[in-house]
Amino acid sequence: MQEERHIAEGSLIELLSFSVGQQSYAMEIMSVREIRGWAKPTPLPHAPHYLRGVINLRGTVLPIIDLAGRLGLGETEVTDRNVIIVVHVGGRTVGLLVDAVSDILTLSSSDLQPPPDMRESDDADCIAALTIVGEKMIRILDLPALLPESDEEAA
C-alpha cells in the first residue's frame, strides 16, 4: 500500500488512513490525538443512532461516534479488533469507531480531487476530497461535517 509516495512539489499533507465498512478512508493526521482499542461505551439515551455512547478517556467523558453508522454504511458489528480514533475537532474531542487503522500517507495537496457532486448519497457531505493510492480510492473525511452542530440533532 505504501508505494507511490509523492514527496514532490505542492504542500504536503499527512493523512491517517483506515477502513470503515470495507471502504478506505483517511483524515488529516493533525486532528488525531490517539488511537485506542475498543471499550464498551455507556449508551446515552435519546441520542442519535450513530452515537454509541460515552467512554472514560482518562477521566474525560468521551463520546463515541460509529463512523459506519454516521456515513450510512450500517452499524458496525463490534469485535475486539475494532479501534477508536480519538480526534480533536472544532474544540471538541470525540472518538470515532472504525474497523481498523491502515497507514500513514504523505500526499501532495495536488493529489487530492474534489468529490463529484452526489447529493443523494448519505455520506457525500462528509467527504472533503478523494485520492488514489495504489489501486485504491481513499475518501478523505471532512471531520467538522461529521459532528452534529452543538444544538441540533441531540433530542
Binding site: T42, P45, A47, G53, G59, V61, P63, P148, A155
Partner: protein
Amino acid sequence: MSTSEDPMAEIKASFFVECEELLENLAESLQIIDDGQDDEETINVVFRAVHSIKGGAGAFGLDDLVEFSHSYETVLDQVRSGDLKTDKNALRLFFAAADMLSDITRASRDGTEFDRTRSQSILKELGELIGAEESNEEEEGSAAASFAPLTLRLDLPGLSEDAASDGQDAQVSEDKDPNDQEDTDGRHHYRIFFRPHHSLYAANNEPQFILRCLQKLGPTKIKADIDAVVPLDVRPPDSASIAWNIDLETDADLAEVQEIFEFVADLCDLEIEEIGAAQSDVARAPAPEEDMADLAPIDASAPMTTQAIEAGGTRDQNARTGGEEQVTTRIAKTVPAVPEGPAANPATSKPAQVQAAKPTETAGPKATVRVDLEKIDRLVNLVGELVINQAMLSQSAEQAGIPANSAVMQGLEEFMQLTRDIQESVMMIRAQPVKSLFQRMARIAREASAAIEKDVRLKTFGDTTEVDKTVIERLADPLTHMIRNAVDHGLETKEGRAEAGKPPTGIVSLTAAHRSGRVIIEITDDGAGIDRERVLARAVERGLVPASATLSDSEIDNLLFMPGFSTAEAVSSLSGRGVGMDVVKTAIQSLGGNITITSEKGRGSTFSISLPLTLAVLDGMVVQVAGETLVIPLNAIVETLTLSEDNLRSLGAQGFVVEIRGGFAPLIDLGVELGYRQVQRDYAGSIVLVIGLDDGRRSTLVVDAIQDQRQVVIKGLQQGFGDIPGIAAATILGDGQIALILDPVGLTRRHHAASVLENSLDRKVG
C-alpha cells in the same frame, strides 16, 4: 502591558478586586461599631478602606468614585478625630454610604450606571452631618492627612515625613486651611521629599529620570540627602539610603507632580508638600496609602513609640531626627526585606518586632495568593481522576487475589487515605468563607427594614465557615429572598412586638456551620412564628390541599414551599412579587441541598438549609437498569419501595400509578424512559424510588436493583450532543466505566410532557 487592549485594564481589574476586599472590611468594621464592640482602631479601618478606594479611584480617574469616597472619608475623618459621635443616625448613614460606595464601585467596574439621586441624597446627608462648609470641598488630600506643618521638619531633611501616618494625624489637630492651594501668582511651590526604597532600584527604576521629569516642570533645587548613607563597609550592599529634597516651583498642580511618581509611589518614601504663604497641605500619592491600609495593625500598635529606622541608616538617626522621629509604615514594611547592617543598633530590631506582632492582630490580613479559577478546577479534576484511578487499582488488586493483609493491600489502603486527604484539601481551595455573602445579606436586611419600617438587627454567626465558591454565588439569590421574607413576614410589626412583650428591635440571625460533611445555613427570626391555621386556610383556599385533609405541623410548614403560595395579605414593596419559597427550594435543590422549617408560635421560625460542601461531588444512589448502571442524586429520593399488587394501579392503556399513603404518583420505568427496553406489563415486585418533585408532587422510578450509595465525582457531558433530557451529568465508577447521573425531576417533567402530548394526539385521532 503588551496587550493590544488597555494596558491599565489588568491593574484596574486588580484594583477592583482590592476594592471588594476593602468594602468587605468597611462593612465588617461598621458592623463592629454597630455592635458596640469597636475600639479606636475600628474607625481607622473604616477610614482607611474608604481612603484607599478613593486613592485608587483617583489614579484611574474614576471621578464618581473619588467624589463620593472623598465626602465619605471627610466625615469619617471627623469621627476619627473625635469631633463627631457615631450615634445611631450617623451609623445608619455610614451603612447607607458604604452600600452606595459599593454600588458606585461596581458601576465603575462594569461601566454601568448607579442611582445618582440616592448618591446625591447620601452626600447631602453626609454634608449635613459635619456642617455645610465642609461638604463638597474637592481639595485633594484635605481629609487625607492634613496636619499643621511641623517647622522642625524643614530643618531636618532626613526626617521621614511620612511619619504623619494615619495613627498620627488623628492626634494632630485638624485645622485645615480652607484657603485655596494656589499662591497668588498662580505658581506652586512644592517641597518634595523622595527616598527610594531598595525595591525601587530592584524594579529597575532610575531616580535620575524622575528627577529630570521634575525639572521639566519648572526650576528645581535638588539636594541629595546623604545623611543616611553609611560607609560601604557597614552598609549592607543592597540597601538604599540616599534621599533627595527637591524644591520645585511650577505651574503644574499637585496631581501632575504626583503623576511623575505614579509608578514608584509604593517603592519609596514620598512626600510632596505645597508651601504657600500661610498654609501647607500635604498629600501623598495614592498607592502608598493602600500600603498603609494593609499595614493597619502596625501603626495602630505602635504609632508613636517606634523609631524611624531605615536599615543601614540607623546609626545617626537619633542625631538627625532628634525627638521628632516616628516610624513610617513603609519603613517598617521594608526593613525585613533588607538585610540588617552589621552595625545595627538595638533599635533596628524594633520594626521586626512590630512585624512579628502583625499576625496576632485580628485585623491582619492573611497571606493569600490569587489563582486563576481554571487552574484550581483543573487540579480538582485531576484529583478526581486520582480517586477513580485509586479505586480501580484496589479493585484489580482484589481481583488478582492479593490477600488483604499483604503489604500491597496495606500500601493501597494508605494510598487511599492519602488520596482522600488530597481530595479534601483541593476541594477546600475552592472554598471561601461565607463572610462576603453574609455581609451582602446584612445590607439586604438593612434595606428591607428601612422599606417597611421595622427595626431589624441581623446577627451573623460562623462567618468563617467555608463553602465552595460556586455554592456561595448561587446561594445569594435564595438567601436574599429568605432574609426579606424573615423581615417582612417573619417579624411582627412594631406594635405587634410591643403587644407580645418583645423588644422593639427584631432579630434575624444568619448562622453557618459545618455538620457531618455538609454546610448548614440557618435563618432564624424571633417573630411570631408560622401561623399554621392561616397557612392551612390559605392552602385550602388555593386548592393546594383538600379541605378535609388533616396535616401535621411540619406538613403545614412545608406548604410554604408550594408554588403559588403566599400568605402576605398585602403585597408589600419587599416581597410578594410572586416569587415564593418554592423558587428558593428549587434553587437550593439544584445545589444538591435541601431546606427545612421549624417554627414555634410566638417565638419565631428557623429555615435550615443543608448544602454539600462542593458541587464537584454528589451523594448518589447507584442503581441498575436494564444492564446499565445509573446514579440518582440522593437528595431527590424520598424513599424506596417494593411494589406490590396492592399499591399498583393501571391507568390508561399503558400507564400505571402507584398509591403511596393515599396519594397517587405516576410510575415511570427508567429502562423504558431512557430507551433501554420495552414496556413491561407487570411491575409487581419491582423496586421503585420515590422522587419528590419541586412542586410537592411525587413520581416513582422503576429500577432493577439498588447497588450502592456513594459519593461520585461529577463529570460534565460534552456539549455538542445537546442537552440530554433526564440526564444531568456523568461519573466514572470504580471499574472505570462511565455511569450517567440522572436528573429525576427533569426526567419526570419530560415524561409528563410526553404523556400530555400523547393524550392530545389520541384525542385528535379519536
